[in-house]
């Protein structure tokens, strides 16, 4: 067995002993790149003492092979040419650390995602692989022994959004003993689910299954609920976030209000005049109100835009009289702020229903009988504006109802994607409406997407109840001639091969799901991305659906993509689990790619000081100094330093120059 050669410092003097491994990745790489040729080409590169090819480098035997070679051949640097470093850089760093050398004496070459998977010509792909391997071999000679930075994880968690996703995540975390801040911008938690009547496919009453969870949240010692609140600023990094939360005034002292609601009855307004937000404007509320009876917290709030006391200062304030010694009403309340420290964040901000007014051809807002699905949920609901009776705006009961699918979905004029839940909720509404009215119901669909557990059976049941299914997208909704008050739905029935014109009393538009209108602003606060339709982007659509590219920030629910309640709850549990994994591990290791100043070379010009977005650079004794805890490793100061005095671990100038020379070397 050959003696391992003496360790070198890797500064370019002496030649560290380099091992190169070229992976087949089954046929993923090998079908487009001549792996054997790449392995041979690597053999003759300066510093390379051995070069191997192997079927699956990331496998256990693959990693063992590296460790053995380190021991048996005295390897001091390792280069693996395989997939993206995002997948296996960690794997190989850990392997070589096990093998006895510093984990940062490693360089990975991406010849799969960036080469074999995107090119067709074998000669070109192999030449590219050779160039990239050569670059890595040249670079790795200059790698320094580094240590990962360990950062502790604060066990507290912030959950943004109090819908079913946020509620479930919060409960899971709280039950695991963690302190949770649940921030919700509406006056009550519950989200959209609180507005539904029954949920598909079981026809469970939404309130019946949601309110117990809401109560659990309220009573849980580990959960702090902040309603009427927004996150305005997030600083820091994984494990160490500082979050600033703004609380908008209710004008009610939460601790004092017992939710008796007598102030609402006592209000000088005898009737509600303002469109009720929870009932989507189908009923009116007073200036003092509670969003819905089971609100959590069970606390009223005052709307300063419509309350007479705010507008004129001269109200009798009967509300205060009736509140008596509880004294819960406080007109002087102002906006307040809280700053909390948390280690991880779950973003569960939900969705916004598509605005049907954007498609005037369906008559929403123009003809009285046209409603959105969410409005119909409120009509059907026993605690809704009509106490569960199906009564149109003009007082009539509908005899014929048309439900139009895909409003704002599967439509290149608005949203190309399918909103996933509308087929099921349309069937559900058909069932509920028929139960309540005995009306003839027509469902106009493009496809019936009933892919979940029990969903197909649900559709068959609704079909058997006599709901007419017409496969054709309605093109037009127009008023019937003769002043009947009905509207005609015109659609091509593609199964019957004819155009249908069906007059109905009521139209239900199955509006799709969109991201919240302020998603772009919210994502900037958390440093995450929006993609595909404006929803928050997950780290990987298959293997990492609840994490983001910002460590410590997780996603749950419809804010990530349209989905129904079962999937939302599953995802919320997953997000909580990933946060728990982080917390219970106790620390996270950060890449040691910080910048540092070589003081002798610093001229004190101060160019770098203003460049750092994290304020990591200060001036001490006339020289720049970088705080390695604050430094995130972007390298901007490194590129800007006129003297070249600032350097970056893992991304030294020499290392990059070696890569440049490596990829361009003539062979």
């Amino acid at each position: 067995m050959p003696e391992p050669a003496a360790r070198t410092s890797g500064n370019g003097n002496g030649t560290p002993r380099i091992g190169v491994y070229v992976c087949h990745c089954g046929t993923n790489i090998a079908s487009t790149i001549d792996v054997a040729a790449a392995q041979r080409a690597a053999e003759s590169l300066p510093g390379v003492v051995l070069s191997r090819e192997y079927k699956y480098m990331c496998s256990d035997p693959g990693q063992e092979m590296i460790k053995d070679d380190i021991r048996d051949h005295g390897l001091e640097r390792v280069v693996v040419a395989s997939c993206s470093p995002c997948l296996h850089e960690e794997t190989f760093r850990t392997a070589i650390a096990d093998g006895g050398i510093n984990p940062y004496f490693f360089q990975m070459v991406n010849i799969r995602e960036h080469d074999s998977w995107v090119h067709k010509d074998m000669a070109a792909a192999t030449a590219k692989a050779n160039d990239l391997i050569r670059a890595a071999v040249r670079r790795v000679r200059f790698h320094q022994p580094l240590e990962a930075r360990r950062v502790p994880i604060d066990p507290k968690v912030l959950v943004l959004g109090g819908g079913i996703a946020g509620i479930h995540a919060a409960l899971t975390l709280a039950n695991a003993g963690k302190q949770v801040y649940l921030v919700e911008r509406e006056p009550s938690i519950g989200g959209h689910m609180a507005m539904f009547d029954k949920t598909f496919p079981t026809l469970d009453c939404a309130a019946c299954i949601l309110t117990p969870k809401m109560t659990q949240v309220r009573n849980h010692p580990n959960i702090t609920i902040w309603t009427m609140s927004d996150v305005v600023e997030v600083d820091g990094f994984v494990g160490n976030y500082k979050v600033k939360v703004k609380h908008r005034p209710r004008y009610i002292l939460e601790e004092a209000c017992v939710g008796c609601l007598e102030c609402i009855d006592a209000c000088v307004f005898r009737r509600g005049k303002t469109p009720d937000e929870f009932n989507l404007g189908l009923s009116k509320r007073k200036p003092i109100y509670i969003p819905f009876p089971q609100a959590v917290p069970q606390v009223v709030l005052i709307d300063p835009d419509t309350c007479i006391e705010f507008r004129t200062g001269k109200c009798k304030k009967t509300c205060i009289e009736v509140c008596a010694d509880r004294n819960a009403i406080d007109f002087t309340q102002t906006e307040t702020f809280d700053e909390v420290e948390v280690g991880s964040i779950v973003v569960a901000t939900g969705f916004k229903a598509f605005d049907a007014g954007r498609l005037p051809q369906y008559g929403y807002g123009r003809y009285d009988g046209v409603y959105t699905a969410l409005e119909v949920e409120r009509l059907v609901n026993a605690s809704g504006p009509t106490e569960g009776k199906i009564v149109l705006r003009d007082g009539r009961e509908p005899e014929r109802i048309g439900i139009i699918h895909c409003i704002g979905s599967r439509d290149k004029n608005t949203n190309v994607y399918c909103s996933r839940v509308c087929c099921m909720y349309s069937l559900k509404l058909a069932h509920l409406l028929q139960e309540k009215t005995n009306a003839e119901i027509y469902e106009f669909y493009i496809d019936m997407r009933t892919a979940g557990k029990g969903f197909e059976e649900f559709m068959l049941r609704v079909k058997s109840e006599g709901v007419h299914m017409i496969r054709g997208k309605v093109s037009d909704v127009y008023p019937e001639a003769g002043g009947t008050g009905r509207v005609v739905l015109q659609a091509e029935d593609s199964l019957a091969g004819m155009v249908r014109k069906i007059p109905v009393d009521m139209v239900v538009l199955a509006t799709g799901l969109e991201p919240q209108p302020d998603a772009e602003d919210v994502r900037r606060i958390f440093n995450i991305t929006c993609a595909g339709g404006g929803f928050f982007m997950e780290r990987h659509p298959k293997l990492a659906p609840v994490s983001t590219f910002t460590d410590g920030v997780f996603l749950a629910g419809a804010c990530q993509a349209p989905k129904d309640i079962p999937d939302t709850v599953a995802q919320a549990g997953a997000a909580a689990a990933e946060a728990l994994a982080l917390i219970d591990h106790g620390y996270i290791e950060l890449e040691p790619n910080t910048a540092y100043v070589v003081a002798e070379e610093c001229s004190g010009c101060k160019t770098c000081l203003g460049l750092c977005p994290f304020s990591a650079i200060t001036r001490v004794d006339g020289k720049a100094q970088i705080n390695p805890v604050l430094c995130k490793g972007c390298g901007t100061c490194v590129a800007a330093c006129p003297s070249g005095a600032i350097k970056q671990n893992l991304f030294e100038d020499e290392e990059i120059y070696e890569e440049i020379m490596g990829v361009l070397a003539h062979v």
């Binding site: 995602e113 090119h119 991305t529 490194v638 590129a639 800007a640 100038d653």
Partner: protein
Amino acid sequence: MSETHDAGQQVDGFEPRIVAFFCNWCTYLAADLAGTSRMKYAPNARVIRVMCSGRVDPQFVMEALAQGADGVLIGGCHPGDCHYQSGNYKALRRYHLLRRMLTDLGVEEKRIRLEWISAAEADKLRDVMNEMVAEIRALGPAHLEVPDESFEELEEVTV
């Protein structure tokens, strides 16, 4: 413009050599996504990973040209989306200045390109790659490579 450059002639069978500096959080991931989506594009570019487009020193671009690159592509996050807040703005400033300087030196504008490509924009990455290769193929070789001997002379003077 072609009368000012010998490099303008179309050389038969010329394949441009392009060096690409991609930021780790956006463009590098977009390239990964293009791979997992099995998109296909021209094989002329060689990617060098940096943490942020703000790390790209104009000297890297010069070095690449001096080493024989026919074009340089810098890929970063969209303005407002930089993982490190503002690194991409610095990259943009340097890029404008660098381009002006290179144009004064007779290097065609289209040889250096800065693109904002987010992690979801694999299709943009493919299109930029193909476009850039076609444009530089039409421009011809850059002929900016400094022969090794000149580097040695330089070393003797500076070291």
